[in-house]
Amino acid sequence: MDVPLTTAIELDAVTKCFGEVRAVDSLDLAIGRGETVALLGPNGAGKSTTIGMMLGLLAPDRGTVKVFNRSPAQVVAAGMVGAMLQDGGLPGGVKVSELIAFARSVYPRSMPTRGVLAIAGLEELAGQRVDKLSGGQRQRVRFALALAGNPDLLVLDEPTVGMDVESRRAFWAGMRAYAADGHTLLFATHYLEEADAQADRVVVITRGHVVASGSGAEIKRSARGQVVSFDLDGTPLFGLEGLPGVVEVEVHGQRVRLRTNDADATVAALIRERGMVRNLQLGGPSLEDAFVALTENDEAKETA
């Protein structure tokens, strides 16, 4: 992995409260130039608040936020950042091409219109009125606006919400092309597969702070433990929680998944108690297992 030469985003002990709610809680985060980073967390984890502070839309209560070593407002004013916000709307009455022309005109080093349309997959929609587009198409227009200024840093908050499978695939293809040019890319998501497949690094945040950071594979390893699965085949569910090592029991129809800290002991006890088990499988945890484990550990720590 390339070691980033300079830092694109640096958050140092950042806290942001809304009334009684501590949305972001002494969060530290550094993102290198050229990195593609996923901010992964459940709803309400503080992803959008963190992004709002990176873009200068919100001021932190405590701590410092630096983007390219300057304040977010300065970097936004200099046209170095493009952003796709979760609640950013589009004006009615204008055509896609007119909106993109406007966006290009406010940035100092904008991308050629054809490039913007190609990356955002809007070639065929350029002449359409924005208010006549579907939700997924509007999402692509918002992406085009973020991209039009050819910014060094792209920040995307839940970019693929509302997109169908085809749009989603096209979107990430465009995104990879953009990141391949050495641009820095940060996106928030609660889709685990998306974080795993698209990012160089996944930063897991929950309840306002970072609980893990690394590649998808590293995060999976950090969850340790393994998954034992087998078919119930009519046998009772009763007693599975009590098996040695088991931390979680999941049932999908006739299939049982046991998340365990000690797969050997779990399997041995399972066979001893049930005699025979059908279609026994042993595997590593999925990113989802890791994610659940990480967020649960964090909550347990808090209440302990």
């Binding site: 936004v76 950013g88 009615g92 007119e98 909106l99």
Partner: protein, 240 residues
């Protein structure tokens, strides 16, 4: 700011409701109320009501800039603009400028209808002064619109804008002469901004010089609206 002004102008010119309020309605009302009723055919009424309806169109268009801004806030467009290099103050300035530009054709068209249909004839200086005063004089109402847009809740913005358009134009004597109002209404009318706004042009249309006192009252109201709009901007700019 120019690219954003262009974008805003395009939006306005494709906005049927805006065009209906500021252009079609004033012309239609002008032609209707100068063709029926007891004053129909009166040359003085044709001139008086021309100023009234041109002023109404300008007022409605200017006030609605604030409503447009409130809409842009609620749909999240202003938030989107905040992450571009375009400063918020320029967004507001472009919005108001776009509305001011967009009301000019309506003003001229009401005058053209008056001249074409009712044969209203004025000297060249009168036409220029009248259109100029109705146009520049509408700026305070753009500030009023901003004040409403910043301070009103999304639900109350519409009714307040409606009052701004109809209530103030009615109060200013743009629909019926103020002299026909009962006494208290006349007093209120003389305190408010719209009567003085229209009276600048009525004076011109009937061959007199515009009164400094009318201009002074209008400027005072403009200052008040500007202060309220500024306070509202400060209060809400973070959320925008």
């Amino acid at each position: 700011m120019l690219p954003y002004l262009r974008l805003e102008l395009m939006r306005l010119l494709r906005d049927r409701r805006f065009l209906a309020f500021t252009t079609v309605m004033p012309i239609a009302y002008y032609l209707l109320f100068t063709s029926i009723g007891s004053s129909a055919g009166s040359a003085a009424w044709s001139v008086y009501f021309m100023v009234g309806m041109a002023g109404f169109g300008a007022l409605a268009g200017a006030v609605s800039a604030g409503g447009g801004l409130a809409t842009d806030r609620s749909i999240g467009w202003l938030r989107q603009l905040r992450v571009t290099p375009l400063p918020s103050s320029q967004v507001v300035a472009a919005k108001v400028s776009a509305n001011m530009v967009a009301i000019l054709p309506a003003l001229v068209l009401v005058c053209v209808a008056a001249a074409g249909v009712h044969g209203v004839r004025l000297a060249a200086w009168q036409w220029v002064a009248l259109v100029g005063l109705l146009w520049a004089g509408a700026l305070p109402f753009a500030l009023l619109g901003l004040a409403i847009g910043y301070l009103a809740s999304p639900l109350s913005t519409g009714p307040l804008m409606g009052f701004g358009m109809f209530g103030l134009s009615l109060l200013g004597g743009m629909w019926f002469p103020v002299t026909t109002f009962p006494g208290v209404m006349q007093t209120i009318s003389h305190v408010g901004p719209t009567y003085h706004y229209a009276n600048l042009s009525w004076k011109v249309a009937f061959g007199q010089a515009p009164a400094v006192s009318d201009a002074a009252v209008l400027v005072a109201w403009a200052a008040l609206f500007a202060i309220i709009a500024m306070l509202g901007y400060r209060r809400t700019s973070r959320a925008w």
